[in-house]
Symmetry: D2
Subunit: 365 residues, 4 copies
């Protein structure tokens, strides 16, 4: 057991259920001397908040964060940072019926199989609210990385089968539409599609792209803790993610070697790559070019339709689950992907410090 901790030196431990008293995270291993206050973290949490658009649940989740430890006079002290968000809008009564059967596409059945019973209110620990801890920790990781000139650009790349057109890519659009898409036209079409889905009580999935720039080379710990391997785990651990690509991803599997190889050249006195099919990693170690990753999300499983399932008495039944459903969760997941990527990179940067005797001498001699 014990699967709610991620990271080795920058280590996060999340806790909390959808309808429990609160959710939160402990960030252990944050270096001392980082300026940090609650608004840094709130800004990240606000990005995962629904209510920015009509495509997200009506539940009003203000999700106000409090720093309980690890920060003194505006600076991190090097001790564990405890962050908490109290649950406010809990309608436990809504969930009484759900307790009796297994919702298709949800984790009700597997939690019961693993643990013998479950907190059925709002999905309990398997709720999307679990990501509050990830995002709060991600805000801290991102702030560390920003101060080292490492930056993130994350956005919705597709909703259903509506994908952004990379020729129309416009970063300034990302925060201009409620779907966080860098292509206004795609965003418009996706919005229409979501209206349709919402009307019919259906849902869809999509994908998120993340570009990490300013990466130093040399980051990643082969052979198992490669930068791409750690990112894959980090991102696949987000609920609803079903696929992860690095660089050209699947497409590279059908190319030839001569087309897929990135050539090197000297540029401004530095070794650089002339292309970036590899997505910023070679042999599991960052190569100094941008890290590129894509995460694919399945559709929200909560739909307003008649579905076959089984109840706890072992009977076949048909259910039509009422309630507030999002037709898509992808836009809210953009900041979750960014957060998990930031936590992963921060941890690997710290782990890499001991890669050379030279580094040890620089700090200790």
């Amino acid at each position: 057991m014990a699967g709610s901790t991620f990271g080795t030196e920058f280590k996060i431990t999340t806790w909390g259920e959808s309808h429990g008293k609160a959710l939160g995270v402990i960030v252990d291993g944050c270096p001392s001397g980082l300026e940090l206050n609650e608004s840094d973290i709130q800004a990240f949490l606000d990005r995962r908040r629904p209510g920015r658009s009509k495509y997200a649940t009506a539940r009003s989740e203000s999700d106000e964060v409090t720093i309980l430890s690890g920060v003194f006079e505006g600076l991190t002290t090097g001790t564990p940072i405890s962050l908490i968000v109290y649950n406010k809008d809990q309608h436990s009564s809504d969930y009484s019926e759900i307790a009796s059967y297994y919702r298709p596409g949800h984790a009700d059945y597997t939690f019961d199989e693993k643990f013998g019973f479950r907190d059925y209110r709002g999905g309990g620990r398997s709720s999307g609210r679990e990501t509050i801890g990830r995002v709060a920790a991600g805000a801290i990781a991102a702030k560390i990385l920003n101060s080292l000139n490492i930056n993130f650009l994350c956005y919705t790349a597709s909703i259903g089968d509506i994908s952004i057109d990379h020729d129309r890519f416009d970063a300034s659009q990302i925060n201009s539409n409620p779907l966080y898409m860098p292509d206004a036209s795609a965003a418009d079409r996706a919005a229409l599609y979501l209206d349709e889905l919402k009307a019919s009580g259906n849902s869809t999935g999509g994908s998120v792209e993340c570009r990490i720039s300013g990466m130093p080379s040399g980051i990643g710990e082969p052979v198992f803790d490669k930068i791409d391997a750690e990112l894959a785990k980090a991102v696949m651990s987000i609920g609803a993610v079903k696929a992860v690509e690095i660089g050209d991803g699947i497409r590279s599997s059908s190319l030839t070697g001569i087309d897929n190889n990135d050539f090197f050249e000297m540029k401004n006195g530095c070794v650089t790559k002339m292309s970036n099919h590899s997505g910023g990693t070679l042999g599991g170690i960052s190569d100094g070019s941008d890290i590129l990753l894509r995460a694919y999300f399945k559709p929200t499983p909560s739909v307003s339709a008649s579905q076959n399932t089984v109840n706890k008495s072992g009977e076949n039944i048909s259910v039509n689950i009422k309630g507030r459903h999002d037709p898509v969760i992808v836009p809210r997941a953009v900041v979750v992907v960014e957060s998990m990527a930031a936590v992963t990179i921060a941890d690997l940067l710290m782990r890499n410090l001991s890669s050379r005797m030279d580094n040890l001498k620089k700090i200790y001699l």
Copy 2:
């Protein structure tokens, strides 16, 4: 640092370079009482051996394994199992030139950036020979799982843009063609394509599918050590893998919720799913249906063509790398994917033992 260990309770640590004295693995945490001998492990290693076909390197790698510890009178003792394979066919002289520049698509540059220098012979630690340790450990994990009725079916699903046709899927074909494809027609076409690539000194990638049957439900440790997250890391840590899918993977991201949900029904007194879009996991915990995963490999970066790169003096140069090149590594990687999946599942099965007080009472009272 320290990135060559994988797993928590079933823990493997690999070591060794392409042209060092030997390569190997320590398997720590193998339960006592498993029948094990060298032929169990050799059978797995033989599957990753080149030379079964003309598409693999001519280097004769017999790769004979020796068990050095942890087995007594034919049974595992519960202590660390040390497995070693001595390197035999080392032509270090071949690599003198390569030392001076960075091969495109290889990890030469990133190893230098991380460590300041590298063992340049045959790729050193970033060589495909590093997988010897993974496969040797995988043989043990698979034997544990087999004894619990958990079984693996892994095969090549595509080479370049030639994919198997699932309607013609024939498991008996897998070991009948040198490409490990379960579709004789696709295997024939892929063989022709590889002949072409070989003639032109080019290469390609492909994909591997892995189906794990007999899985108990309840396996996986949310929220970070979910079964799909751990598999994603395990598989993405294999050199050349650029994407991982679970279940319907990317395709599920463009479906609607109603189409993607797997309905439940009672079957022979058991809760079962009527479809398996999810690939055997819900909320990161196994649901009792088959685990389905796909790994996508980039083309072999070693090609016989003129390529631009940079040498260690920081000069732009053009190189044409001679030597024995495989036009594809995917068929040899099938057993590597299977091995990493087996190690991951074995570890999660062990970790799950403490999920319920009932289990503790069953063993200790």
Copy 3:
């Protein structure tokens, strides 16, 4: 960094500073199905509370615990259990002077050296209040173990050079005197000694003994995670502990082999030891007899006397630290030792589940 997590499968992460908003712990890996409520935990916290006697600080620490997650309808769910205690009685103004120099025997200097600055209020993270998280987690571990018939007997064995007389050992005394000593006479003499120390503004140390009965044999993971090694770390990590003994400890080092060996005999059909010099472990694995350990605490460093030290401007100064001082912390530390021992044993019991193929078959076949 990241040193506030302990355990592998039963994993605890503590956080919080003496004068921050709150302190707490996440217990991740607690099996599902354990009855648990706040009074179970409060009972442990009350044992570390001062105010039971005049030898402890006058600060009123009610230390009320709240369970924030991981428990549903009175049972643990298998998800992380978050426990919080809000700080109430914070006189931060008291600490303004202390910020400017390094108190002898305290961690002021080393925290500054490590982190560049520190939360100086009440010792910050190095305060004894940090043990709140340990004790709250220990309450859960102890409850798990009790349900497996494993029990703890912990008490004060010495204060200064006043030791209990094992010939007068009376377990019923432990909770009858404020020093938790199982020997009323020793408790009386120690009380007089502490009165003297208190009057003179001085302090002393002492020792705690812990006996764990009902241990199954076979627990402990050689060669590094031996039961005695893990206990040694757990106990030595408690602030002020300077020595740890297992079984006869130091005394065994001057015995001869023939006197120190514990002979085996059959008793009620079971293999038992005729003596227990080893303290319940052989080769780092529990042998079925009681685990015996002793922890030795240095004197409280806060004394009312003139002491030489250095201020942050690098000047030699003399200080006389005012404030509420305990003449001894040992009685309050009894429950901390018990808690750390319980957490360690719970974790090792869970890790041992995968030691045999038989256990895996018992759960999965």
Copy 4:
């Protein structure tokens, strides 16, 4: 399970049984650029070799080490270093009788209880030969530390009840007598005592002291991975160790605070302590003074005397175990204590690198 790995960033994994084919260790996380060859490691292994004196087993253990990976052209490459020592002098036939019963003071019984059976030859995994891997790894850790001006002075402090007199402490004596004692007179008396014990087939224990000088301040990761806690685990995990002290250890528990506190003063512009009761640590973080630790070993359990025990058929029997017995193992254990201390300190130095944002900026900006 999986208890044969120690360390987080500098991670060692040992393997091997007394009478298996070989024993060894993987050192993962050794920084690149350290000069290393087999003679560095052999020098450490030779210090644990018997045969230097008549008090150690006649078994000729040449224990020649080979580096199998991780070193290229005389420098560490940053990849795992695999070290192997083949077993040569195996008289398995000697052990046939021992298989049938449980030797008092040995781990025969507990290994059987944990694993269901055991490799009974020479103690199998619980043999003192297991320390070969520790010492080989310790040689590398010590070399890293030496290059950072951190040095070790380890020696036998007592044998039976014959202790060195610290007033006669003479470091130059340590390598001048076969008992590694820094007091020639004590060494002479101990030698006579061991002669007696050997004649009567009996044995004794003793203690080892270790002084680590040149320590930077700030090392150690509270609250669990404190420098003293990690050292306690490291040393207690050595077979036969029954107690560990840091600084004044047990003695400090009976002092008063005013006597036990180490005052600070400025010396040559640096904050220094006027005494070192604490043994170089405050709050679990190194304070810049010497680290002082003591390990106490029980007597060798193998004695030539009639002992009561139980056989595998559950019968009470009396045994008199023949064979080559050491009257004491303490002198051979000196290098084992030093090795475990070095591995621990090396790991903590690496982990501390990420304690401050300043360090990250120093390396990455």
